[in-house]
Point group: C2
Chain length 108, copies 2
């Protein structure tokens, strides 16, 4: 199964966040374009998960501009957040692999 990975213009307003002081072991997705939202979740390994597992790991969804949205609109945003997250985790994985390679080169 290949997941669609596309740098959509919409993702420009998304941020992958953490606050280890207050939410250790959790992460968040923050969408700063309207309708704005904070999605805080427990999922450790995004790349091993599917949307349902992501959805089940959600601890808090905070619609920052108010909760007055259609269910279909909410679902669209959650799926968009998930797609954004998968790309971010792939990019992070690539970074970590490169760091590992560099570490190996440094070892005597």
């Amino acid at each position: 199964m290949s997941r669609k990975e596309e740098y959509k213009e919409e993702y420009k307003d998304y941020w992958w966040g953490e606050n280890a002081q207050f939410y250790p072991g959790q992460q968040s997705i923050i969408k700063l374009s309207t309708p704005r939202v904070l999605i805080r979740y427990e999922l450790e390994d995004v790349l091993e998960a599917n949307f349902k597992e992501f959805f089940d790991s959600i601890e808090e969804i905070h619609w920052l501009d108010g909760n007055d949205l259609e269910d279909t609109q909410k679902e669209t945003i959650l799926k968009e957040a998930w797609d954004f997250l998968i790309i971010e985790e792939h990019l992070l994985e690539q970074d970590l692999l490169e760091m590992d390679d560099n570490d190996d080169d440094d070892e005597e």
Copy 2:
């Protein structure tokens, strides 16, 4: 010089964010309590930097509820964001050190 590190209740609404798709090499601090703000910056190593270097590395400050704030209030929030960030980076460093230790244990 010892930096004050205190898990202030205010930090609960702060998030340390990234969006590697659109802002590679940058990070952000997002404050979701009013007055809300996004601070996007270039700084690679927070623990080696001081507030001035952080300030100079800022690419964008977006006051999400409007720009109508006193300069002193803006400065207070920027300093609070900086203090939050230092704690987050310390926690991340600790995590990475623990991961390294575990990696070493796994090696034959």
